[in-house]
Symmetry: C4
């Protein structure tokens, strides 16, 4: 496959993984920046991620509009992706989702979401909460245009994740694998923290130094990173679509 | 298929979706008003929703009795549906279920169930709690006749959902897709609120304006609404039964 | 099939249902009294319930010993069943299990387990907690002989369920379907109550009158009872083994 | 199969069981000491446990290094296993995992993890919490070398399990079946305790005498122990790989 074919195939896999891992349901989406044109990005047409195939991927500009004639419906909230790609040249992949276990942290002011387990370190030391009402008043909470998207991107700043009050989250990564991993472990970190609160007493969060040490050690194509991608793809039923970092199309499956 | 055939097929799909999404188990039911005769409605015979097929659908009147000779057992609580259709001409579909995560809100007086996430907005700003004991004293809690049903319908008023103390809920929608979606996201909103309470501090609910804005933006055949129906039907194993809003029988399934 | 064949087939189905519904895992068991000889009962040999087939069923006496030569290992805790059948002529089926969500109620003294949802009414108004240590001191908590079993049966008294501290529960029913249903809804009632406690404030339990009304209305072969059995059997993959109350071997399965 | 073949086959099964039971995901690993050479042990190469096959098993020394040329990536944290095998001649199998429900007990100081249910007795009366920061300051929390591993092994001492703050746990058993069973019931005990705390009031833990009585009664090849191994292997889809304790390769599967 050409490099671009591989990018699109990986985006299909990412859609399926996020569905299988309960990060998205009928709603939520994942995008990747065009590898050769940083002003474009790929995302599925309006479709549940679990059903996405290659032909469902469309190419959009940083204004959130399709770069070719497109008759099919698009995600209303594609402006989340457009605005983050616009504001953050370092970001190559974005997820927006409503993963259930992070929702309480968007509405309960008393407990900020912070890394409490090592696999949650990638959410970063601070997770801002964006409230669309602060600037736009009473809305349907959806990010329906670039103004909404840019306001969210401002709140995200140079962080990895922003919670969206009463709605979900937006996460940003340097690579597709990174943003998928971050989005899968974000709810797990949220659950661990929620239960730790139930146990009572002081909670020991990861230190700033630990978060930094883990970020420094992260490599998008390490054996450890790849191990999870391969596992999740198999679990989601698309192990056969995986292309290895060395370019081999080698499918490990269970006997 | 004729229009009526499609209505019945959609009701079969709705049964399967509600089962797959854990809204119903062996108990709970969903009904749809007859499109041509507002004094009749369709519902399954006494059968677990996951097993319902076309031939299991029966036609009842607004007294909850079958309009044709029927030898098969019917749901004891079909009067929930009859009484809501009787009281609410705007309602075209009804669900009754015992979804586990809403049950605590029917018995714990301290925390009213209110929308705290955007997908929960469709339950409306106020969810009344109906207690059969208020009027009927000690019963088996089942809605066994029109008196019970009408008392529940009075409590529901012009709301979308009524909780039934120690029992479950009844929800009412303008369309089948709407009431299914509402019934799937109702427990999710309940879980998000339960966990937010565990995190402590003030909770930010959706504002009345946000609930209204979302209701105003809702369209039963929008791309967003359809996306969820298609997703849930596929997940429930009946994607092949889906008829698209444009009348095409077009099945999107995973490669 | 002969009547006895049907009894044994139903016991196989009950094993599978309890496994599928997460009431049992590798541990836990279900038994039924011999229909023609009240001093005997049937139970599987030492085997995970999900794997039980007809040939795995053995016949034991009220001393918990096999009535025929038996080379295969038996459940260590078969004395739970023997002692309850001995003490309770009205009981025709017994379940012992470690269903996870009831365990907290056996060890946290502050919150007694009581019916809070209508499907939980069958556990009865009072659920005693048996602590093996009260009479036998430090043991491995297992009911290893008739002394242990009889002490548990005394605690159970004429109730439907006894919790076993730090261990699980024993439930007793007039029929196999009844005890399976009771055992499936017992953890659900426990979860609803646990979450209601988290919501805070007063909790409205079922009244004694409601519990009595529901018990009075219960019929082991009603359409409602049958509906659940048929549903659970299908879900557990053994719908084809079901014999209907009218003796027909009629398998409803999904198209 | 030769004895060594059986050991490796059992290790494959253990990998699959731990994945199916949600003890591990892409991360986490299980090892077994070489039966003939106590200075060597077997563990998978860097691979998600659910995908492990016979050819993925490698042989390492007590320094955590492969005893033969090995081109494939190895688990970064294999030093957990090496250091525990080095320190504990009585230990023949080790698991390291991030099972979600134990994580809160590693970070919330107020509630120590102790056995509260009989199947949790095997974690022992005291579960120490190891914090890598105590000795090594800010790290990425991974056990990357023998210094880290030996510090963890010192904290484990002669216990069965050590929690690893913000990371997971390490468990040690006299046999593979024992450490798998321990690792499966560890999160269950954690959940039961977390929920018991929610119910409030005093909690009745297993007594020291009960824990000792259960440990004394444990036999790695009893019918009860075998029952769980057979069940879990079948559930994980590898019942056909199971070799019985009597050496027979006899596969019980569902009809």
């Amino acid at each position: 496959m050409s490099s671009l074919d591989t990018v699109i195939q990986d985006l299909v896999i990412a859609n399926r993984i996020l569905a299988k891992e309960d990060v998205v349901d009928a709603y939520g989406h994942v995008s990747i920046r065009h590898p050769d044109n940083p002003k474009h990005f790929f995302i599925a047409r309006s479709l549940a991620p679990d059903l996405v195939e290659r032909d469902d991927i469309v190419e959009l500009g940083l204004d959130g509009q399709p770069v070719r004639d497109e008759a099919r419906a698009l995600y209303l909230e594609r402006f989340i992706h457009a605005a983050i790609f616009e504001a953050r040249p370092d970001v190559h992949a974005v997820v927006h989702a409503h993963a259930e276990d992070i929702l309480p942290f968007g509405v309960a002011a008393a407990t900020p979401l912070k890394p409490v387990i090592h696999s949650g370190s990638f959410i970063g030391a601070h997770v801002p909460v964006w409230d669309i009402a602060d600037r736009f008043g009473d809305t349907d909470l959806l990010v329906r245009n670039m103004d909404h998207g840019r306001d969210l991107a401002r709140c995200l700043g140079d962080h990895k994740v922003a919670l969206m009050r009463g709605h979900g989250f937006a996460s940003a990564g340097r690579s597709l694998i990174e943003v998928v991993r971050l989005s899968v472990y974000l709810p797990r970190n949220a659950r661990a923290l929620t239960r730790a609160k139930q146990l009572g007493g002081d909670i020991k969060y990861l230190s700033e130094g630990e978060i930094a040490a883990r970020a420094a050690g992260y490599s998008p194509y390490s054996a450890e990173t790849w191990r999870a991608w391969e596992y999740w793809a198999n679990k989601a039923g698309c192990g056969h679509m995986v292309t290895r970092p060395d370019g081999k199309h080698d499918h490990k499956s269970k006997s």
